[in-house]
Each structure stands twice: as structure tokens, then as C-alpha cells.
């Protein structure tokens, strides 16, 4: 177990290095930070040249990368090109907001998906299954901005116009420490995310349950006279949940990245917005800082998922 973990950590370091190189290249190619100043009439040629030099953009790309990496290895993510603030500070200001939104959405999504997936599998080809399947596909195939804006227009704008109690658009200023206000402001963005995410999870659970329910050991359990509930939850679900562990394990790190579109639409001050706003401007210290944190989380959670697997399925041994 420990040697396995040691090997995985060494692999993880190399993986992260490769990821940072790729992210650096992609970020630098996708947007030029100097593009922001291209039409600034008040900047002269000399001003632009001085700025390039100050931002280190006159260095060859490998030098730019290693300068960034040198800082990162010392735990420094550098300063934003534009706000001039430390990237770590900017991330720490946004991460809690993102976690509140994303973890809430993930918990509700997984819970709902379990119910719908199991129900769908148990009642295969029934009206219930067909309705759930149809709704799943509708949710799965709709663009998130459409759902997010649609929910806002119905439950905020139209409800207000109809004189009904209405939910906030998210664009108001509210007290983050007030739990009632927090819940009110979470309803729409979390609903939008749940609609999109639940479909995928529910389909996985349905397929997995159907596969397991047809196996001999389940038939044996039934033959032993166990109740349907016991068969379903004690025998079938435990094995059917294996793929779910993988999916959740890989999804959790991405929760840190926030929900880009949802955060944009509901003006949620999270990581997704931070990433998008600075990626568009080519601010690679900010972009790389966020990507590094997410990549590290992906690598760590992959290892954690492998370990959790051994608990869920005793047949699996780490060697």
C-alpha cells in the first residue's frame, strides 16, 4: 500500500509537470496579454515596449515558463498581470464561494441521481422509467446558459411581474452570512446545475443497476428469501455503485474550478468567473494558478478514488 502510494506520488509529480507545460503553452497561445492595450490611444509605442519588458513578455517562452515554475515550486503563484494582486490571494477570495455553490449542487445531484437511477432500473421500461429517461435526456442536452437564464426569467422576472413571491436574480447585493439569504440565492444556480448534472449520473446508475440486477448472486439473494429492499440496497447497489465512485472521484476536483457559465449568469463571484475573465485577457499567472490547483486536485483525487475502491470492492488490492 505505502509503496504503491509512493509510486503514485512520483508519477503525480511528473504528471503535474507535463500538465503545467501544456497549460502554459495553451494559455500563451490562446490570448496575448498585450492585446488589451492594442487600441489604448493613451499608450505610446514606448509605453507598450516598457510594459512588455516589465511583464517579462520579451523573454523566450521557455524562460517565461521556468520563471513561473520556479515561483510555483516555492509556493508562489505570482501576481496577476492586470490587477497586480497575488494570484493566491485572488483564488482564496473566490474558492469558498465556488465550494458553497458546487458542493451543494453535487450533493443534491448525487442524491437525486441515486433515487432516479435506482427507480428507473427497478421499474425498467415502465412509465416511470420512460418519464425519467426522457427528462434525463432533455436535461442532458440543454445548454446550461439556456436553463440558467430561463430559470431566472421565469422565477425572478416573470414571477415579480405576476405579483408572486420571486427569487433573486443573483445580481442583487446580499448578506453572505445570512443563511436564509444564502439559501434563496443558491436555489436558482444550484437548480440549473442539478438539471444538467443529474441526467448523466442517473443514466450511469440506471445502467449499472440493471447490469447488477441481472447477475446470479442477486437471483441467489432473492431465492434466499431476502426482501426486495435488502436485495436492492445491500447486495445490488453496493456493486452497482463502483462506477459511481470513479465518476464522483474524478468530478470532485472539477468542483474547485467552479461552474463557468452558471457563475457568469448568476454573477456568482467564484472560480469559474475568475478563470474566464482572466483567461480572456491572457493573464497567464492567474490562469495557470487556477489550472495548477485543479490539476493537483485531479491527481490527488484519482489516488484517493483508487484507495476508496479497495474499501468498496474487497476484490481490488493495491500493489
Amino acid at each position: 500500500m505505502w509503496s504503491y502510494l509512493f509510486r503514485r506520488m512520483i508519477q503525480a509529480i511528473f504528471t503535474l509537470l507535463i500538465i503545467t507545460v501544456l497549460c502554459f503553452i495553451l494559455t500563451r497561445l490562446s490570448a496575448d496579454p498585450m492585446a488589451q492595450y492594442a487600441t489604448s490611444a493613451r499608450m505610446t509605442t514606448e509605453d507598450r515596449e516598457a510594459l512588455r519588458e516589465r511583464l517579462g513578455l520579451n523573454d523566450p517562452l521557455p524562460v517565461q515558463y521556468f520563471k513561473w515554475l520556479g515561483l510555483a515550486l516555492q509556493g508562489e503563484l505570482g501576481n496577476s498581470f492586470f490587477s497586480k494582486q497575488p494570484v493566491s490571494l485572488m483564488i482564496s477570495q473566490r474558492l469558498p464561494n465556488t465550494l458553497i455553490l458546487m458542493v451543494t449542487a453535487e450533493i443534491i445531484t448525487v442524491s437525486l441521481a441515486l433515487v432516479l437511477g435506482i427507480l428507473s432500473a427497478v421499474k425498467q421500461y415502465s412509465v416511470v422509467d420512460n418519464v425519467i429517461t426522457t427528462l434525463s435526456f432533455i436535461g442532458f442536452s440543454m445548454p446550461i446558459f439556456f436553463i440558467a437564464l430561463g430559470l431566472m426569467l421565469i422565477f425572478s422576472v416573470q414571477f415579480k411581474a405576476w405579483g408572486l413571491p420571486y427569487l433573486p436574480t443573483g445580481a442583487d447585493i446580499w448578506d453572505k452570512k445570512d443563511p436564509v439569504e444564502l439559501i434563496q440565492h443558491l436555489i436558482l444556480p444550484v437548480s440549473a446545475l442539478v438539471i444538467i448534472l443529474t441526467a448523466g449520473y442517473a443514466r450511469y446508475i440506471r445502467a449499472s443497476m440493471l447490469e447488477v440486477l441481472g447477475l446470479d448472486y442477486v437471483r441467489t439473494a432473492r431465492a434466499k428469501g431476502l426482501t426486495s429492499r435488502a436485495v436492492l440496497f445491500k447486495h445490488a447497489l453496493r456493486n452497482a455503485a463502483l462506477p459511481l465512485v470513479t465518476i464522483i472521484g474524478l468530478d470532485i476536483p472539477f468542483l474547485l474550478g467552479g461552474a463557468l457559465v452558471t457563475e457568469q449568469v448568476y454573477a456568482w463571484p467564484g472560480m469559474g468567473r475568475l478563470f474566464w475573465e482572466y483567461a480572456q485577457r491572457g493573464d497567464f499567472p492567474v490562469v495557470l494558478g487556477i489550472l495548477l490547483i485543479i490539476s493537483t486536485a485531479v491527481v490527488i483525487f484519482t489516488i484517493i478514488t483508487d484507495i476508496v475502491y479497495t474499501f468498496v470492492d474487497p476484490r481490488i488490492r493495491l500493489s
Binding site: D32, S40, V103
Partner: protein, 597 residues
């Protein structure tokens, strides 16, 4: 397994709660009870010269407040360090300059008692010395005196190599600043600088807020200083008391504002990146105004009357198309570009034909709902416009005749071709611009218009971050890797802001001068002479004549196709009553006069 999973998820929730408690703590400046300041100090009060308070005026129970929505968050409150309009806006709300532009586009005094002129002795006969007189009894919001020393300190901070200011343009031409007394600032230039009104003043395209010496003196790397992210004092109508990144900021009245106490008791600015959300929030009343709708949203916002009001302000920014006029040889050893431009564009008749072949008025009438105009020159909606020039009307017949005259005749494929520099060239070329929807829509119409006169116009839309890329990043324009291109810019508030950099031979980007801003790649000695003439005098009348001639030369040579003057589109709720404003001032210039119904 379920237990393990729930433990894992619980840990994450716990972590988020802990992080929420640790991070994003707002910085709140202490607030005092409102002092009885409702008007600017009278003459008798001025004699006493005491500050009205030392802290922002606390928000009273039942006070009047408004919430604005901005689609981006300013990088800082000091635009010396940021090119964002939002930085200029927040500065207008919180910091003052010596002068500013009013609702009618006139340059007026702000911290100064009056605008220097030759008549009042503020401008020397040679134009090299400008003397500003400050108002009496000026104070920062913390009660410290605001004096001529703050102006001199601001100049020293801008020129300090340790501070990463974006531009020293104009400031580097100051030889010295003398402060014979607390209210007199004598600026001596080393050479004539006709655009002196853009220094130490606040305008739509310049940054000149006076910085507080008593807070920043002796510090370097001001770009990272707390003051520009969490400022504690101000000299404008408002003081920032709370700024939660990515979320909102709160502003309370400055007790010592020279213009008296604002009518409102509080202003909040919410950062909302999506205009669709801002529109919904205007409808629900969550926010009171949004200043940045696109021209394409004019009818959408206008349809919300009477709950939401639309304000369209024609601007001095313009959307223009232009031709790659670069030459690898340059002229007299100057202004060589990396690539030769599209050969037929060297002929003024071809450039004129393309201008006449685009139905620009129809674009304005349909896509922009007639809310703006087709300008004749690059100085639209400004007192500097050469009013003798009128935009060419759509005339496809004349355009076709011009192309015939230039030797480009229709081929079997419907595209004209002709001889250029001894080679047969088809009038088929790329047009580069960004991916914004309005640009895509307009380019599609232009493509259709030009096809009617036998010209194949092929739009290529590239994300702005790449399109505006610099020379070192193989950007489209500085490397000359385009035939035609289009984007928005503007030369204001001084009429020569950015003009020299955009047109002079010395600023054509190439390996030796990679940061050159002459995206047209034009090197025309006659144009260089006109640019020099426009910068050679500070006399307003002589300047107007020189700039008129410059406009006429560019107009006669069809160097650019003026598509339309950009409009600023605002939406605001019925309860919010903004004060009159124009393009040069923008909404924020006199926020002390804002009110609610």
C-alpha cells in the same frame, strides 16, 4: 462505501465553510455619523479652512441608495495602472483631478478654481508653462489638506521608474513642477505639449487623478499598493468603504468633497458579467443602472419602458475598416512593414470604390436601429470634427465605374481582376476582425454589398486576445498579416491622443520597433508633416485648422472606411435619476447630483 463517501463529501463541505469564514472578508472603513454638510463651504467657512469630517458619512436609517451594475471589475481605482474604462469610472467616483469634461463635452475645472487660459494668465505666451490655481480649502476624505504638493507628488509617482504605470505620455514632457504656495501649481514643459489638458485631469480616455501624498509618499511599486485595491481615502464625492472582489463595492459620501454632500447616501456597484443578467436585474429592480449594453441591444432595452429607461449617447469612438497599406521598403528608409499590403489597395480609386460600395447607412439603420451615425472622419461627435466633410453616400454604380477606371474588370466568376505591379490580381481579399456578434453581422452585410460590385470580401473572425496580439506573438495587425481589418478606437479627449502613434512612419511595427501602434502600416511623409503641424501649436484656433487639414487629407485619400460612430447604451430603472451627462463626461462625472424618485 456510502459512509466513506459521505465522510469525503462532509469534509469538502466543512472545508468550504472554513474557507468561507477565512476568505473574502470585506474591508470596512469606519464610518461616522453624518455631519451637517450639505453644500460646498461658503467664503466665510473657507476662511476657517477646517475639514467637515475625517471619515465617510455613515449610511442613515432609511437613507437613499442606488446600485449600479458593471460588467467588469476595475483592476484598480487608479487608472495610471489600468487601461480599463471601469478604472476610470471608479476614479471619477472617488478621486478628483484638476479638471474634467462636462456633459456638453467642455473642459471644466474640478479641483482647480478655473481652467488655465492665455486670458487668465494660466497659459504662457510660448505655451510651455501652465499655471493651475487650486480651489481654497481642499481636503482629502480623512481630513488631510489637499494641496499643490499632492499634484507634484502625483507627477513624481507617475515618473518614478519603480511604479509600473501604463503610460507616461505627456507627463514625460514636463521639465518641472513648482509649488510656490499650497494652491498654485506651475507646470513647465520641456517642449510644447498641446494636450496638457489631459494631464492631472479626468476624462474618458485619460487618467489624471491626484494621488494622496500623505498616504503614498516614500513608497514604491504603487501598482501593488493596498491603496489601489482597498483605498481608505478619496477626494471625489464618494469613498470606497467595502470592496468584495468579484462581487460588489460600497461607497459612502466623502464629508470633504469640494462640491458638497451628494444627494444620495450610498452608492453600490455590483459586478455582473452577463448583460442578459443585468437586463433581468434592471427589470426586478435588483440594480438601478447598467452602462454597457451593446448597440444591438438598443431595442431590447427600449422595449422595457416605462419601468426601464434607455439612454443612447453617441460617442467619439468609431468602428472603422481599414486597408493594409504596408510596404516592405518603407519610405526614405522609414516605416518598413514586414509584408507588403494587398497590391490593389495602393490605388486610391480602389479604396474609394470599396467605401462607396458599402451601404453604411443601411447598416446603421437596420442593425443599429438608426441610433448612431456614419461619421465622415475619425473625430466624430466632437468639437474637433471637420464639419466641411460629409460621409460618402452608398453608390454602387460609381464604385463599379471607379474599379473599371482602375483597370479591374468583371471575370466570369463575378469577381473583378486587373493588373497590379505587373501581375494579374483578383479583387478577392480577407477581412480580419474579432468574434463579436455585431461585427459578424456587419461583415456579412458588407460581404453581400461588395459582391454586387465584383469584390470578394472574405471575413475572418478571431478572438480579440489573438486578433489584437502583439508583434512578438505574431499578432494579425503588427505583422501585416491581413488585407483589410476592422475594430473600434477613438482619438479623444485631446484630439491628438493616439493619432501620431496610429499614423506616423516611425510607429509602423517591425522587428526594430515591435510595439509600434500604426496598425494601418501607413508611411506617408505628407501625412507625417500634417501630424507634426497639428502638434506644433497650442493655440486652439491654429490647432483646429491643422487638425481640419489632417482630417481632410485622410478623408481624401480614403485611408479608412468609417463604419459608424459607436454609441454608449445605458439602461436605468425609473427610480434612479441620473444627472445630465455626455460621452466625454460619462455617467459618473457628477454622481453627487444623482438622486432617486
Amino acid at each position: 462505501m456510502k459512509r466513506k463517501l459521505s465522510v469525503l463529501l462532509s469534509l469538502l463541505v466543512l472545508a468550504s465553510v472554513v474557507l468561507a469564514a477565512c476568505g473574502g472578508t470585506p474591508t470596512e472603513a469606519p464610518a461616522t455619523e453624518a455631519p451637517s454638510v450639505t453644500e460646498a463651504p461658503s467664503a466665510s467657512e473657507a476662511a476657517a479652512c477646517e475639514p467637515a469630517g475625517t471619515e465617510p458619512i455613515a449610511f442613515p436609517d432609511g437613507g437613499k441608495t442606488v446600485t449600479g451594475a458593471w460588467d467588469q471589475e476595475p483592476d484598480s481605482i487608479v487608472p495610471y495602472f489600468s487601461q480599463m474604462s471601469y478604472a476610470i469610472w471608479i476614479t471619477q467616483l472617488t478621486l478628483a483631478g484638476l479638471g474634467e469634461w462636462d456633459a456638453d463635452g467642455n473642459f471644466v475645472a474640478e479641483l482647480a478654481a478655473e481652467v488655465p487660459s492665455a486670458e487668465n494668465g494660466g497659459v504662457s505666451a510660448d505655451g510651455l508653462t501652465i499655471t493651475w490655481k487650486l480651489r481654497e480649502c481642499l481636503f482629502w476624505s480623512d481630513g488631510e489638506p489637499l494641496t499643490s504638493s499632492d499634484v507634484k507628488f502625483t507627477w513624481e509617482a507617475v515618473m518614478d521608474p519603480g511604479n509600473a504605470v501604463l503610460s507616461r505620455s505627456g507627463y514625460e514632457k514636463i521639465a518641472s513642477i513648482d509649488t510656490p504656495d499650497e494652491t498654485t501649481v506651475v507646470i513647465t514643459f520641456s517642449e510644447l505639449y498641446p494636450g496638457w489638458q489631459t494631464l492631472f485631469t479626468q476624462g474618458p480616455n485619460n487618467s489624471g487623478a491626484i494621488l494622496p501624498m500623505h498616504i503614498l509618499e516614500g513608497q514604491s511599486a504603487l501598482e501593488s499598493n493596498d491603496f489601489i485595491h482597498q483605498p481608505t481615502v478619496g477626494s471625489g464625492p464618494w469613498v470606497i468603504t467595502e470592496w468584495i472582489p468579484g462581487d460588489y463595492m460600497t461607497l459612502l459620501p466623502n464629508p470633504n468633497f469640494h462640491g458638497g454632500r451628494p444627494k444620495l447616501d450610498q452608492v453600490q456597484i455590483r459586478f455582473i458579467p452577463d448583460p442578459a443578467t443585468a437586463l433581468a436585474a434592471l427589470q426586478t429592480g435588483d440594480v438601478d443602472w447598467f452602462p454597457n449594453f451593446s448597440e444591438a441591444e438598443i431595442s431590447t432595452v427600449g422595449a422595457l419602458e416605462p419601468d426601464v429607461h434607455l439612454i443612447v449617447v453617441p460617442g467619439a469612438d468609431f468602428e472603422h475598416y481599414f486597408f493594409n497599406l504596408g510596404t516592405t521598403t518603407g519610405v526614405d528608409g522609414k516605416g518598413a512593414a514586414d509584408q507588403d499590403g494587398f497590391c490593389p489597395f495602393k490605388d486610391v480609386n480602389v479604396r474609394k470604390a470599396i467605401t462607396l460600395g458599402i451601404n453604411r447607412q443601411a447598416i446603421v439603420d437596420t442593425l443599429l436601429e438608426g441610433k448612431t451615425t456614419v461619421p465622415s472622419t475619425q473625430w466624430p461627435n466632437s468639437s474637433w470634427t471637420n464639419s466641411s466633410l460629409t460621409p460618402d453616400a452608398y453608390n454602387p454604380d460609381e464604385a463599379a465605374a471607379l474599379l473599371d477606371t482602375a483597370g479591374y474588370t468583371l471575370g466570369a466568376d463575378g469577381i473583378r481582376a486587373g493588373e497590379c505591379n505587373g501581375e494579374t490580381v483578383k479583387l478577392s481579399f480577407n477581412f480580419e476582425t474579432t468574434t463579436s456578434q455585431i461585427r459578424i453581422d456587419i461583415a456579412t452585410i458588407v460581404q453581400s454589398d461588395l459582391a454586387k460590385i465584383g469584390v470578394e470580401f472574405k471575413p475572418i473572425h478571431t478572438p480579440a486576445g489573438t486578433f489584437f496580439g502583439s508583434y512578438a506573438d505574431s499578432g494579425v495587425m503588427p505583422t501585416g498579416n491581413y488585407n483589410m481589418a476592422g475594430y473600434t478606437t477613438g482619438f479623444y479627449p485631446d484630439p491628438m491622443t493616439g493619432v501620431l502613434d496610429s499614423y506616423s512612419c516611425a510607429n509602423v511595427p517591425n522587428a526594430a520597433s515591435p510595439s509600434g501602434a500604426n496598425n494601418y502600416l501607413i508611411c506617408d511623409p505628407a501625412l507625417d508633416d500634417l501630424l507634426a503641424a497639428a502638434n506644433a501649436t497650442a493655440d486652439p484656433a491654429a490647432r483646429k485648422t491643422a487638425i481640419d487639414e489632417l482630417q481632410k487629407y485622410i478623408y481624401d485619400n480614403y485611408y479608412v472606411v468609417m463604419m459608424y460612430a459607436r454609441a454608449n447604451v445605458y439602461g436605468h430603472t425609473d427610480r434612479f435619476v441620473p444627472a445630465p451627462f455626455g460621452f466625454f463626461s460619462n455617467l459618473n462625472w457628477n454622481s453627487e447630483a444623482w438622486d432617486v424618485k
